[in-house]
Amino acid sequence: MCDRISLTIDGRQIEANPGQTILEAAEEAGVYIPRLCWMKGLSAFGSCRLCTVRVNGRPQSACTQPAAPGMIVENDTEELRQLRRSLIDMLFVEGNHFCMFCEKSGDCELQAQAYRLGITAPQYPFMFPQCELDASHPEIFVDRNRCILCGRCVRASQELDGKHVFGFVGRGPDKRVAVNSESGLAGTDVSVDDQAIAACPTGSLLAKRVGYVVPVGRRRFDHEPIGSEIEPASADE
């Protein structure tokens, strides 16, 4: 085994194993770096940029950048909070996120990141794009209004389910998640138990007929911000 690496994050000295990313090392040390496209058990994607930190003054995505000896990492700064706020605001205005009737509300990571940042209204104009909804499958639906293109379903289907149900098509504003069948989701070999369905951070991929089972007040992010499970409770006292 190689020696442990020592680096600082927001002035605090932490240790990492060689090969560990900044995000993983921080998490082990009880420091939460906000993320959306990163998910434990999946390869890093580095697309949402929410985990951007400053490493020795330069912006880097913490989910892809390996920890290195002597790194000076800034994470919880006003500048980065503002940048993350802008990213979340853009995700909200670029899609159609109607939280008030979404089955995922209270359990949605996009919403939870906005709550954590204390966002009360996005600073950009809403785009109200036209998006397709695919309800062809008897047990699952894809609502692209709520898709943030994190690619977690794409990777989970490949890496965990051993299938290739989802993939990206198009570029720029036309980019969207497609399914591996011309007849829609019903034509694929997806199953409601696939990890790809559970991997969706928003209400874009959901099992049918199980919405709203958890009452308001008992959902994942009703009382504690996302990331609280990583941060030691004493930190905010």
């Binding site: 008030m100 009737f101 509300s105 209270g106 204390g118 209204a121 809403f126 109200f128 998006c131 009382h223």
Partner: protein, 181 residues
């Protein structure tokens, strides 16, 4: 000393946010001690007498009348607050924003499965405010000072915001009072 004035209105909303304001329970007695109401559905006054300390706006702008009322509120209210998801992002009425206005009219008045309209007319009386092409959040029409999300914002959220603004405190809502549903 005269009590500060509060005005409220529901633009393209469902009055759910006003119901939530009534849901402050017995604190409504304190509220009556704290403020006087200018234009509001609560007292049925239709025109702002002004000047008003705090304006609470529920609902987004779906038609020209909504825009006029919102502009009137901005003109007379020192502090203007968007209350609820419809005011902040258009809410349920904004679901029509992805459909061209003409198609919305056709569905509502001509082609919808339950429509009975033998003359095939789309209502166009001048008493009916013209619809905007899209439902707009209030802050895309006038300057909005504070946003209280929620569908509706809880009574506690409304109470906390109102009292903070009346007492000149910073409006910093705790985690549990900022919810989008």
């Amino acid at each position: 000393m005269a009590k500060p004035k509060v005005a409220t209105t529901s633009l393209c909303g469902c009055f759910g946010c006003h119901m939530s304001l009534l849901d402050i329970d017995e604190r409504i007695l304190d509220l009556v001690e704290l403020v006087d109401f200018d234009r509001s559905p609560i007292n049925d006054i239709k025109k702002i007498a002004g000047p008003v300390e705090i304006g609470l706006v529920e609902g987004g702008c779906a038609n020209e009348e909504n825009v006029k009322v919102l502009q009137e509120f901005r003109q007379h209210c020192k502090v203007l607050v968007s209350v609820g998801d419809c005011a902040i992002n258009g809410g349920i009425p904004a679901m029509r924003n992805m459909v061209p206005l003409e198609e919305c009219f056709e569905e509502a008045f001509l082609k919808g499965p339950t429509v009975v309209n033998p003359q095939g007319r789309i209502p166009d009386d001048e008493e009916i405010p013209l619809l905007l092409n899209q439902v707009l959040p209030c802050h895309e029409v006038v300057k909005i000072d504070y946003h209280l999300p929620g569908c509706p914002p809880s009574a506690d959220t409304l109470w906390e915001a109102l009292t903070a603004l009346l007492e000149g405190r910073n409006l910093e809502l705790p985690y549990e009072l900022v919810k989008y549903d």
